[in-house]
């Protein structure tokens, strides 16, 4: 195998190499141009040692399999690829601006500066999980940011795609990943759990708010293994002004058992953007380091653990832990419908026990101009709707912070519901249909519009039509 070595000016498959942008341990990154493409592009060329270099080759193969299958703003677009017959490479669009590495160097950061970044990181992770991919090597260097703000994930050399052969599982017997960020189950060589990426996100958030890595920089596998029983120092011990809710998010994302973590990246994004709704647990209040006795007990419990329960697939995990957006109509005449909706939500939670329920109610405002109601009245309406929502949800028993309430406003209730579903990345919308009336026939129904335009599944609850039943009986 005589491979061409990359150098400035080299031409391959129409691409011309410019300057070298980066030289890492396993690959070099080059600026490239192509007469047919105007997009700025980069070429990644794995550095193959002389002779047979298994790990680098497999990492490159994995990337070459996975990257062209990913789409959307959170991954770089693949423009070309080459194989080992001449020179292995992947050309992608160039994301200007560098990685988050610099931002992390500036840590600790003020909360106001990092919440949006953190939510965008979670959104990017959610997007690749939606596409059946677990990254498994998330770290600051692997997040780039588009000028529009969207985070872009790179370096899929250790990743896993549910629908493709896992070449790495067949290749390696030692844990793979970047030690400061890898999840305990990755240490145990499990490669099938999207919640591993949530652990890495938790470790990165820890670093952003404290300026320190939760477990320092372990150099040996024995040191990495300690995270199975060692709790990181609570972030608030390093930074007392950090709000409890933020510590709750970090420590929950970093739970040792994946089952006790957040169950999807969308759920983390939701909490980051709804801080008042984060329900605080013991995790939020921790200030002192883990005591010796507690650590000993945890060590005894964990030292023989060989694996954690993992989902059957990424998709199975995503379906188990969706955000259910429930749009509740609180009008008095709609009480029976609201009751039916309540029962539907309860049933849904039986089959999706890890789901999170976001209850919303929409205050319809006048279409033209500013509403005539005074501020006082407006506020009053808002509060009474919130109280109404909570009363409606009484009896939906969800642990932690998995039940939230939001009152929204807008002239077009369907549009408001649809927008909110996008914001919270709802996996499913449940709502009632008010039934048949002449007005609705002409003006269109809210549920019909939501069904027609939503990007996720929508379940519409309808009460049996009394009128039609009566007709049926007389016939």
């Amino acid at each position: 195998m005589a491979l061409i070595r990359p150098e400035p000016g080299l031409e391959i498959d129409g691409f011309t190499l410019g300057g070298q942008l980066h030289k890492g341990g396993f690959a070099t990154i080059w600026e490239v141009t192509h007469p047919l493409y105007r997009t700025p592009m980069v070429m990644k060329v794995p550095t193959i040692l002389d002779g047979y270099d298994g790990p680098t080759i497999v990492g490159f193969e994995v990337e070459q399999m996975i990257m062209p299958r990913l789409t959307g703003p959170h991954v770089p677009r693949v423009m070309g690829e080459g194989d080992f017959s001449r020179m292995p490479y992947i050309v992608t669009e160039k994301i200007p601006g560098g990685s988050l590495h610099r931002l992390f160097r500036a840590a600790p950061l003020p909360l106001s500066e990092l919440i949006e970044t953190a939510a965008r990181m979670a959104a990017a992770i959610h997007d690749i999980h939606r596409q059946h991919v677990i990254h498994l090597d998330l770290k600051p260097d692997n997040f780039l940011q588009r000028p529009g703000g969207e985070m872009v994930l790179i370096d899929f050399g250790l990743s896993r795609h549910d629908h493709l052969p896992d070449l790495l599982a067949e290749e390696f017997t030692i844990p793979m990943g970047t030690f400061p960020y890898i999840a305990p189950e990755q240490f145990l060589r499990q490669r099938g759990d999207p919640r591993s990426d949530l652990y890495a996100l938790g470790a990165m958030l820890y670093q952003l708010v404290t300026g320190k890595l939760p477990f320092g920089e372990p150099e040996t596998l024995a040191q990495v293994r300690q995270r199975l029983w060692r709790d990181p120092l609570p972030p608030r011990a390093l930074r007392p002004d950090l709000p409890e809710w933020f510590q709750e998010i970090i420590l929950r994302a970093m739970e040792v058992d994946p089952a006790r973590r957040y169950q999807s990246a969308a759920q983390i994004a939701f909490d980051l953007t709804h801080p008042l709704q984060v329900r605080l647990t013991e995790r939020a209040h921790r200030m002192a380091p883990q005591g010796a006795l507690a650590r000993f007990r945890k060590w005894r419990a964990m030292r023989k653990v060989k694996s954690f329960a993992a989902p059957a697939s990424v998709a199975a995990q995503m379906e188990r832990a969706p955000i259910l957006l429930v749009a509740v109509d609180l009008a008095p005449e709609m009480e029976p419908l609201a009751q039916a909706l309540f029962l539907a939500v309860k049933r849904m939670l039986v089959i999706q026990p890890d789901a999170r329920v976001a209850c919303v109610n929409v205050i319809k405002t006048a279409r033209i101009g500013i509403d005539q109601t005074t501020d006082d009245e407006g506020n009053h309406l808002h509060v009474s709707r919130l109280v109404g929502l909570k009363a409606w949800a009484e009896g939906i028993e969800l642990t932690d912070d998995r039940l939230t309430y939001t009152v929204l406003e807008g002239s077009d209730p369907a549009a408001v519901i649809l927008d909110h579903a996008e914001v919270v990345r709802a996996g499913h919308i449940l709502m009632g249909a008010r039934g048949h009336s002449t007005t609705r026939r002409y003006l269109g129904s809210v549920s019909a519009k939501v069904v027609a335009e939503a990007h996720c599944s929508v379940t519409v609850i309808r009460l049996p039509d009394q009128h039609r039943e009566a007709e049926g009986e007389s016939a």
Binding site: M1, I57, P165
Partner: protein
């Protein structure tokens, strides 16, 4: 160029029809039948004539061990298989038999090699069922893509640049990139007598431009096929097996 890979039709008209209907909606440019048109099943004439028509239209077709066994004593066959072959022989015309005996054992086209059983000795009907057996195929040819049938259970193997062979789980309905740093061997399952516990016809599509392989399964009217087998007096065990896909 999209190539449909079909193997081990085994005189199962219902399964064959279901596969042809499925692939007719998937932009197929050429069909390759990797052998064993007859044997086990109740409709050998219809299946041979249909393959003949496909070949006339440009399809490739290979010879399998059951196709060869028509009229040739073969000690390797078990009693039930032999009984069906003897039953089949009496139903085939001279033309049918000539068609089967004229089929090649191997087809090579560019970086592609097609064979009924193992590439390292196509006439020895070796079952490719393990990494070690797959290695045998990889070692006799330079072809980057090797596809075979014979085993009735879909499987996938790759040989990396160092020549090491790894087996991979088969995932149905998802295009698999056959990355060029490896060589690939696909055992594409059986149209007419699946044996992986799923009573559905199996075949695969190779997209040579996109360099992707998709394993597919198609439901078919297995009850009718089993009924025909019983009506024809073929061994009950074979009908029962077909119903379970075992």
């Amino acid at each position: 160029m999209r190539l449909a890979l079909l193997s081990d039709i085994h005189a199962n008209q219902e399964a064959f029809e279901a596969v042809l209907a499925d692939l007719s909606q998937r932009g197929i440019d050429r069909i390759a039948v990797l052998g064993d048109i007859v044997g086990y099943g109740p409709d050998p004439q219809w299946c041979i004539e249909t393959v003949e028509d496909l070949v006339a239209g440009g399809a490739w077709c290979l010879r399998g061990n059951h196709d060869r066994a028509v009229g040739v004593p073969d000690g390797a066959f078990n009693t039930n298989a032999r009984r069906v072959i003897d039953w089949t022989v009496n139903r085939l015309s001279k033309r049918h038999k000539l068609f089967l005996s004229d089929l090649p054992l191997v087809i090579e086209d560019g970086d592609l090699m097609l064979v009924h059983a193992s590439a390292n000795d196509p006439a020895d009907w070796i079952y490719v069922t393990s990494e070690a057996r797959a290695l045998g195929s990889f070692s006799v040819t330079k072809a980057r893509l090797i596809f075979c049938g014979h085993v009735h259970r879909p499987q996938l193997y790759s040989a990396d640049l160092g020549g090491r062979v790894a087996g991979h789980p088969v995932i149905f309905g998802q295009p698999l990139p056959l990355i060029r740093s490896r060589r690939w061997l696909g055992v594409i399952g059986s149209v007419g007598q699946p044996r992986d516990g799923v009573a559905q016809a199996g075949y695969a599509i190779l997209d040579r431009d996109r360099n992707e392989l998709t394993f597919r399964r198609v439901g078919y009217d297995v009850t009718t096929t089993a009924k025909k087998m019983r009506a024809a007096g073929l061994p009950e065990a074979l009908a029962a097996r077909l119903m379970k896909g075992e």
